[in-house]
Amino acid sequence: MSEYLLEVKNLKKYFKTKNGPLCAVDDISFGIRKGETLGVVGESGCGKSTAGRAILRLHEPTAGQILFNGQDIVKYSPKKMKEMRRKMQIVFQDPYSSLNPRLSVQALIAESLRVNNIGKSDKEREEQVKQVMDVVGLEERLINSYPHELDGGRRQRIGIARALILNPEFIVMDEPVSALDVCIQAQILNLLGRLQDQFNLTYMFISHNLSVVKHISDRIAVMHLGKIVEIADSAEIFNNPRHPYTQALLSSIPIPKVNLKRERIILEGDVPSPVNPPAGCRFAGRCRHAMPVCKEVCPELKQCGNSQVACHLYPAEENSVR
């Protein structure tokens, strides 16, 4: 078996639009090892959420393979997939709109169990709910509260509890802290780190906040307009970014320190549309290193030092990508 818990091969997700197919995720491949966190970063609309959802088959992939524990789950029947989904969960960004306002905390968390036919009786389920509330740091006294009575941090803990109660192996975190204040965000990040250690969880962590992603990720994939343009260990991405887009992203982070001298790359030009994207490198219109070949040929993801990079600036090396 491969070293990966999850292996994604040539995944595509196209949406139908009246102007033609919208290439939200366009041929991406990567693997995530057990117990590892893969961070996924990139600008709004680059396909991060679509990738996360397609992996859980919440969106049906247009093409590609998704190997979970070596099994291609794209081929699974809906029934088998439903069982599979207990092991593969998702936590959403907005703890305000992703929870049904008419359900109590108890009902919201137990809903996961009921949908998956877990637990013999309501009594047994309630016990499980209490246990998981304790694990995610929700006070037991809140069990009969409603989401609108709780703050964002606690609502996000409900979202995490709903995922965790099914004992998943893999969780897609889709911007789980983006809607939270920095102090609450720090609390949730610490919680996610502890849960990962405790239950040996594997995360795909989607965020546009690069300092958050750096903090939580072992490896990072940088997405641009449906493609992965660079993927490497977290430290490598930050210390030695190779793709011009990665470099621009990193230089754009406002750093909370005074008298910092650094070069900032300001991107000019428009982001192309994901409907009929340009043939060559999709970053060419904004890239200061663009060469004639860039407009013609779409660069493949290739091994370059300790990274995989999709850019014509880097010549292919011997040991190319899977």
Partner: protein, 331 residues
């Protein structure tokens, strides 16, 4: 900072604002004091519900009329108390003297009018110009914010998020205001676009010698663009000073908590230092220092008595009973 003078442009004294909602009173701003010099850019930082937007809306006198009430204070702007101005006088001041940019550009844009028309309208409010000159000026404003003049007849939906926000900035600047209040102007934008917009604001601020209040959650943005910073907690300013002083020598436990909560880009941290507890209920603020239930330094006096402000050095103000200097400065 080279552009700041010592003359005060804005001076808020003892401002208190309440909202009435569901029979409860929300004390959104309590006895707030704050001033801004000509040419200065102030960062206004604090968690959700701290009262930042309420303070800004009070300056412009555009608080929602029904639930809100200014219960005390004076807001001096260019030597005049704005709270004593008539509605008509305020209308003149808004846009011409003070402009505001909101987080979501669409709150300021009319989806069914071209961007050119909208900028012309803003200019026209304060300047009577012939049609042709009006259009020329609108085109110039677009170019100022890095949008080609050919796009003057486009509608907002034809622009990306960053471009829409730039159009809003063009509208806000079109009357050459003395004070620009920007309420999280880049929160809805991608980091790359945010960098563009911040760069633009930096340049325009220099060029127009404008004063600015930048409301944000992001201490990185403050470091980038502001001269001074005010940290707000539960309706009041708990620490204020130059960015340099506050970032290197913060003295308030809440400011410390804010800095500790941000994951660092330079070092690997297993766990972030977090502060326990939640934002207080604004309808029922804790006694004494409102931060005391969460404060790791709180002593018995903190629950009983609200701390007064003190100056740790000229211009650096802290509202706390304890003297954390020495104990907990930023490394």
């Amino acid at each position: 900072m080279e552009h700041t003078s010592n003359e005060k442009l804005l001076d808020i004294r003892d401002l208190s604002v309440e909202y009435h909602s569901n029979g409860k009173i929300v004390k959104a701003v309590s006895n707030l004091n704050l001033s801004l010099k000509k040419g200065e850019t102030l960062g206004f930082v604090g968690e959700t519900g701290a009262g930042k937007t309420t303070t800004a809306l009070s300056i412009l006198r555009i608080l929602p009329e029904l639930p809100s009430r200014i219960t005390s204070g004076e807001i001096w702007f260019n030597g005049e108390n704005l709270l004593l101005k008539s509605k008509k006088e305020m209308q003149q001041i808004r846009g011409k003297e003070i402009s505001m940019i909101f987080q979501d550009p669409m709150t300021s844009l009319d989806p069914v009018a071209t961007v050119g028309k909208q900028i012309e309208e803003m200019i026209g409010l304060h300047e009577k110009l012939p049609k042709k000159e009006l259009r020329e000026k609108a085109a110039q404003m677009l170019e100022q914010v890095g949008i080609k003049r050919e796009r003057i007849d486009d509608y907002p939906h034809q622009f990306s998020g960053g471009m829409k926000q730039r159009v809003v900035i063009a509208m806000a600047l079109s009357c050459n205001p003395n004070l620009l209040i920007a309420d999280e102007p880049t929160t809805a934008l991608n980091v790359t676009i945010q960098a563009q917009v911040l760069e633009l604001m930096k340049n325009l601020k220099r060029q127009y010698q404008m004063s600015m209040i930048m409301i944000t959650h992001d201490l990185g943005i403050v470091a980038e663009i502001c001269d001074s910073v005010a940290i707000m907690y539960a309706g009041n300013i708990v620490e204020y000073g130059t960015v340099e002083r506050v970032y290197e020598n913060f003295c308030h436990p809440y400011t410390e908590a804010l800095f500790d909560s941000i994951p660092s880009l330079d070092e690997d941290q297993e766990e972030l230092k977090v502060i326990a507890g939640l934002t207080p209920d604004p309808t029922n603020l804790p006694s004494g220092c409102p931060f005391h239930p969460r404060c790791p330094y709180a002593g018995p006096e903190c629950a009983q008595q609200a701390p007064e402000v003190r100056e740790t050095e000229p211009g650096h103000i802290v509202r706390c009973h304890k003297d954390l200097k020495g104990g907990s400065g930023n490394e």
